[in-house]
Symmetry: C2
Subunit: 599 residues, 2 copies
Amino acid sequence: MAQKLRRHSLESTAQAGSGHPTSCMSAADIVSVLFFDEMRYDPADPGGRGADVFVLSKGHAAPLLWAALKEAGCIDHDLLTLREITSPLEGHPTPLVPWVRVATGSLGQGLCAAAGMAWARQRDGEPGRVYALLGDGEAAEGSVWEAAQFASFYRLDNLCAIVDVNRLGQSGPTMYEHHVGVYEERLSAFGWQTAVVDGHDVGQIRDAFARAREVEGRPFAIVARTFKGRGVSFLEDKDGWHGKPVKKGEELARAIAELGDTGVSLPVKARRYDKAPKPLSEPALHATPDYTLGQEVATREAYGTALAKLAAASPRVVALDGDTKNSTFSDRFKAVAPDRFVESYIAEQNMVGAALGMSTEGKIPFASTFACFLTRAYDFLRMAVYSRPKHLVVCGSHAGVSIGEDGASQMALEDLAMMRALLGTTVLYPSDAVSAERLVVAAAQTPGIVYIRTSRPKTPVLYANDEPFPVGGSKTLRATANDAVTVVAAGVTLHEALAAHDLLKKDGIALRVIDLYSVKPIDAATLVRAASETGAIVTVEDHSVCGGLGEAVAAAVAGRGRVEILGVRDIPRSGKPAELLEAHGISAAAIVRAVRKLV
Amino acid sequence: MAQKLRRHSLESTAQAGSGHPTSCMSAADIVSVLFFDEMRYDPADPGGRGADVFVLSKGHAAPLLWAALKEAGCIDHDLLTLREITSPLEGHPTPLVPWVRVATGSLGQGLCAAAGMAWARQRDGEPGRVYALLGDGEAAEGSVWEAAQFASFYRLDNLCAIVDVNRLGQSGPTMYEHHVGVYEERLSAFGWQTAVVDGHDVGQIRDAFARAREVEGRPFAIVARTFKGRGVSFLEDKDGWHGKPVKKGEELARAIAELGDTGVSLPVKARRYDKAPKPLSEPALHATPDYTLGQEVATREAYGTALAKLAAASPRVVALDGDTKNSTFSDRFKAVAPDRFVESYIAEQNMVGAALGMSTEGKIPFASTFACFLTRAYDFLRMAVYSRPKHLVVCGSHAGVSIGEDGASQMALEDLAMMRALLGTTVLYPSDAVSAERLVVAAAQTPGIVYIRTSRPKTPVLYANDEPFPVGGSKTLRATANDAVTVVAAGVTLHEALAAHDLLKKDGIALRVIDLYSVKPIDAATLVRAASETGAIVTVEDHSVCGGLGEAVAAAVAGRGRVEILGVRDIPRSGKPAELLEAHGISAAAIVRAVRKLV
């Protein structure tokens, strides 16, 4: 069967005129054993929570995955449509094929997601195992070692990683070429049980999988020594053949001839565990704020309070945090649901990857840390978009210069830009405790990836407990028939805007003030109306002037009125929050100055 | 001396009312041995290329660093101004104190920068050693293991890491608490020579440093078992004291009393290596493009060509790449200057961190990979901003959907947003080979962090070889006195805009076309003029509609004219480049449709 998978990989990439056949060929024996012998699954049921699941972390070997799925009877697509715009058989795996749980292709991420799936199954007592196939080149990614430590720390003995050590990377040999001992020693030091095999010896591979099923209390890694391009003399172990198909015609024919008999068929019958998976409960997501107007509460604290309420409301909600739980207030979730709280330590990439994996197991994950440290996980958030998760909520606390004395390294000034730029995301930015709690619930109910930005300082409660906060909306907090200027803000700067309103009112200048709690999607209608009804819009944000709230407003208004953006332009330093708001021109006084220039 | 450093740390944080005294106290003995015994440096010379250098990777122990620098006679600031807005003694280390080479405070980054410094010194034959002090909590960051493998792979025996295993993280115990063997085993598996010491035993620490100086061919790690809050009974090894100062007055007095005699003074005399550092050459950075108009060349290829010319022009230029050198074309640099090319393998975080470290040694580093994978290093780029490097050029290739068949995982759609959002960065986006080469040279001459975005497809040369491309400028390629609409574009979409111009011209609609090769800083004057002279601006970019070129233009125009943003809104898939440009509404046809709606 491995030879047939190799043939498919050669043919489909030759037809496409691009792709990575040699990276498929090194792993063909491993994948053939997995799909046609080792894994228990029903080819008719891609959802399969009760079945074993496979993650192709070395995503460029997608043609091999498509071939295995086709031969196993899981999919019926024509393999020769690989990489065509109308085909779900993409160049790297995506969930357009429902057997793909997480999109891969950015190396070093599959093991993190697999670890998250394994954690969820272990917690729920589900018997299905999780297999992740990695390349040797990608083992250079630190995130692989974050996942490795996570998996051994949480004793995920339902997780099996296979490292396809084929010696050659994209642009030359890998760091350790065929020194499989390096990988074995490192994985062992990271707490894994290991086996080294000849990755082209089906018997050895099968035996290793059998051993992996026996191990208790730790994950299992198979380090497989392989050859890139295995099976075709002019490709095997040859430099210069990464990401390069053979030519259709004579070259392809010559390659296929070398593979020998590729006529075998091994239809897979459903192989399931006896135990049926527990049904997923319908999430009943609700939480009611309980504050009094004017009460001083940080939005980060309200996040924790609401999260704890969600913990009680639905067993599907899980929370992760990167050793900041006492600052993000996710420790309130841990206090009421310790078995659904996952301390992810200071390893944000794996935290987001694992949360994504949990999502594919029906969880509604909330992952939190300081917003600035989410930049660490940006590539994981990017790939999460392409994984199209049902739910993934990310909360970043300690937004902006208003954190004060800790200094620039702890200030998130790019998080709105980075989360907005991702396709199809939702970006929420509450300004008081009521809206924070409402938006936490909304986040859990909103499909896809939702980002919540919270702030460190305490701010007064602005809204009644029953005020609704629909995603995509805004709140006009101050408005008259003759407003001179509109100020749009969120978070701490909204309170500065309200103070500016009061200061200017004394001078007879009427300010409209809009709380833009939903930064994406944005309430363009309200903004355009404000731009036309008042002379201009001033936006003010505790964030870089590029890519954040201000530019979101400028783009929404699209020239139908003046937009002046106040935000952080220069490198901040340690100082008191109020000093920093003033120094960076986003204080009430700065708003007053900006408005005076416009009227 | 350690007790005195502890006293300073307690007093300065108590005065500031915030900070991390207990994290200082665990490392006080290590730092005292380093500054007052082990390291060779001249307290009067912070630049010190011929001296040993210290990187405080666990940046929250900044008060300890300030105390050591003060006691050693390196700085003269009042330690009690810690965290005040007028003081350079920030909450986390920044180069406002010139002894700080790289800003720290986002954990897991210091070792990457230290490895880059060590690489540069090894290459130049400089004798000074590099010391990096890490916390145990931060060892959970994958980037630490990227740096670890980089340092052993490049045999950096001038690098010494110390891991301060104080058992307690921010919100609870670390993963491995006091199991120092775990760290030792992992570092050893990653190719380091190791020593385990009692981190409060000055003799043991000193001996370990002596051993480290003897080792050849591999880096050295000292795993130090310590106690957080060491020296004060009510702080030592106690939970709940992370990031919390003692109270001024009675509590502080009680703590200081427990420290015993803190009256010692150990002024440091200059201790230098015999060998003076080689003087840095003045960079003579030039490279002249050599193309013919209309010639089809990808900007990524022109990047490689120009980089190879810079290699010849200045020995200070170094290049790094993440196993994509045959795609980014940085292999052209390697071909002419192999000893200044650093294969960084698939570990983008360390690549950027090491490049930053090299910059502090006088190098002009160019680091390249697929632009989408730079998202992996976003936190490193963020911290690089705060490190204020003289030079750091980052190049991301394979921008946007125009890469085609590889699919979304390989498409950079957020890179302009993420690089623009960083404070003080320069963002360049060439559209043809001439501008690409010119901008590579401009990048090397521009202070700070410069991002160059290159594209995969071949595009025709638009400019004469002597055309200047100043940073902050733009090129108006098509203009008449009665242009109906202005199209602003860069990269592949500029060529779509030119095609749209020709199509519309046939119908008598005149289009102004602007090449916005400098996305940041932006040529606001030209854009505002275009907005007022033509009816509206249409921007078109192979990037997310959020945070990129379009919003940059919208913000620059600020409402002084209509701005319509064309860009990627939906998740792309594999397909042919032209199909994808059309599918995502950024083709010539899509521009024509958008313009027709406006006129």
